[in-house]
Amino acid sequence: MKLYVRQRHRVLQVVTKLIIPFVLLFALYVQFHGDYGPGGGFQAGVLFASAFILHGLIFGLQRTRSVLTPSLLRVLMALGVLIYLGTGIVTMLLGHNLLDYAALAANPKTGQHWGIFAVELGVGVTVTAVMVSLFYSFASKRL
């Protein structure tokens, strides 16, 4: 089964090019607006990934891979976990318990804000990287 089409389907390609920026924008919105509305790092990560997956489906994996290279993905995968865990370690180094964001600022509420921002970022990065790499693995293995 062909998971993507090249050259043909000009309409799809043009529409995709139009859609992708909006998907990315929406993903950013979901990432950083999760405090107020539904959403957060995980949902944003899936949306980010879906933009890349759409790109891969329409323009071919080769082109997507030149933007988001496998080695970059591997680094991002680990980086997200490190951001999340790092936030926890920083709070420990500041003398508080693991993941106690109150340590991050003088005002506990501000600290919470920073902490949640950081860990959501970590979630977003790992989820994006893992979802795209899952797509690479499943779409590009040949028999």
Binding site: L79, L82, L85, G88, I89, L93, H96, N97
Partner: protein, 497 residues
């Protein structure tokens, strides 16, 4: 940062940090070194934590600064402090041993993934053990399970893949059952914190939801700890996984599930509910007895050493569960001490089998003729730990079986005691036959002697003998482990403060 205060968090954070770092480093030897170093630090943290708990009693660590039950907490008492010690110690020893055997059996480009998965598995197992939150058990159970599927699939035979897949199916059913059980408990008590739950269950006990939660958690955890009718995944998984992985899992994975089982039966639901009202021993005791009788018998007929030891593991789980079913202080002590002792000897046995695999390339019982002449140290290691498995006096196996039979007698369950003895006899047969072949059977005349056969490398022998040294120490001075196990048993029977 006050290290002493942060020890509970460090036990989890260290291995969790090592996994992504391995993925970033990607250098085979460096990843191994990092994993060993991390395991060492984790072990030291666990040791420090153990001493703290022994001195000052229960430690509660509120993660995120939110006091339980609002937030998630680490709840460390004697029971899980000693489990943490066991798991991190076995991981350290087996990792030291693993370097050569992994180098031989895993493609070099994937070494970093192997060690990352190992660290994740360690994180998961330690996380299950240390947490005081029921839902958190599920999350870390999945971390350990997913990394275990991955580690098993590293096996060189293609059957490692199907073994891993079947384990995945069983493991997912088990995890889903546990999730359902936790959901019903949440509906009945409104809380997820184990200590809080234990306090609220007496009021909710009459509810059917609690009964259903109990049944589902029991079945789910029985799958995970491979108790008799639900042990099907274990034999293939142990046989086809890389031998270092088998040694690690045999000493830790089922043991951690058994610990969770203990925690739920005795501390959360309470002995009275589990054994008085639910009559748990009516279901579990027959399963346990069939486990250690039938699977010891099955082990006799296995010609592959790894598979034989895998079945023997299910049989040993049977002893442990039978000990739990006694539901007395003495019985629980016997069960816990056997968790430790069996963890150590089974790991040592798999390590010695790994040495044979390393040099011979296979582990068929019938072609180990006169192995003592070529690999004396490996064979001696196998014999010492084999005797421990049988339960010869002065070995750890004797300590735990003696305690178990004593506990059964104390309760008046003579038959159980007798059956334990009978199954030990089966163990004499299956271990004895291997020893006989390795020591006495002459190499057949028409077969050329294997060329270049020699003893396993030192890097494998030294960790193995270190572990055997520990097992001998605890065999001779059995009172040390027994007193720790008794303290753990009392803590579990006493429930939460």
């Amino acid at each position: 940062m006050d290290i002493a205060q942060q020890l509970p968090a460090l036990v989890i954070v260290l291995p969790m940090l090592a996994a992504p770092l391995c993925v970033l480093i990607r250098h085979s030897a460096l990843c191994w070194a990092l994993s060993v170093f991390t395991s060492l630090l984790t072990f030291l943290s666990a040791f420090g934590l153990f001493n703290q708990v022994r001195a000052d009693g229960v430690i509660r660590y509120a993660i995120g600064g939110w006091a339980a039950p609002t937030g998630i907490e680490y709840y460390v008492d004697m029971a899980n402090a000693s489990m943490l010690l066991l798991v991190s110690f076995i991981s350290l020893i087996v990792l030291l041993y693993a370097y050569e055997s992994v180098k031989k059996s895993v493609v070099k480009a994937k070494h970093y993934l192997f060690y990352a998965a190992w660290m994740l598995c360690l994180t998961g197992l330690l996380g299950i053990t240390i947490t005081g939150d029921a839902f958190n058990v599920f999350v870390f159970l999945e971390i350990s399970s997913l990394s275990m599927y991955m580690l098993i699939a590293f096996g060189s035979n293609r059957r490692a893949l199907t073994a891993s897949f079947r384990y995945l199916i069983m493991g997912s059913i088990g995890a889903s059952f546990i999730l359902i059980g936790i959901g019903f408990l949440y509906a009945a008590t409104g809380t997820l914190n184990m200590a809080d739950m234990a306090g609220r269950i007496p009021d909710a006990e009459a509810q059917r939801a609690v009964l259903v939660a109990f049944s589902f958690l029991t079945i789910g955890l029985m799958i995970k700890s491979a108790v008799f009718p639900l042990h099907g995944w274990l034999a293939n998984a142990y046989q086809y996984a890389p031998v270092a992985v088998t040694a690690f899992l045999a000493g830790t994975a089922t043991k951690v599930s058994l610990y969770v089982l203990l925690r739920f039966f005795f501390s959360i639901f309470g002995t009275e509910y589990s054994f008085g009202y639910m009559l748990l021993n009516v279901v579990l005791l027959p399963a346990a007895i069939v486990s250690f009788i039938l699977l010891s018998l099955v082990a006799i007929f296995q010609s592959d050493l790894k598979r034989m030891l895998a079945y023997s593991s299910v049989a040993q789980v049977g002893y442990i569960v039978a000990a739990f079913c006694l539901a007395t202080e003495q019985g629980l002590t016997a069960g816990i001490v056997h968790i430790f002792n069996h963890g150590i000897i089974k790991t040592a046995l798999f390590m010695s089998v790994g040495c044979m695999l390393f040099r011979l390339g296979h582990t068929h019982r019938n072609s180990l003729d006169n192995l003592i002449s070529t690999m004396p140290f490996t064979v001696v290691a196998f014999i010492i730990s084999g005797l421990g498995l049988i339960g010869v006096p002065l070995t750890v196996g004797f300590v735990s079986k003696f305690t178990l039979i004593g506990a059964a007698m104390e309760k008046g369950w003579w038959l159980v005691g007798a059956l334990v003895l009978l199954s030990s006899l089966f163990a004499v047969i299956y271990i004895g036959r291997v020893i006989e072949i390795m020591l006495f059977r002459k190499v057949r005349v028409n077969e050329p002697a294997p060329v270049g056969m020699k003893e396993a490398p030192l890097s494998m022998l030294v960790p193995m003998y270190a572990l055997i040294g520990v097992s001998i120490w605890f065999g001779v001075f059995g009172t040390t482990t027994l007193s720790v196990a008794r303290e753990a048993a009392l803590v579990l029977l006493g429930g939460y403060q």
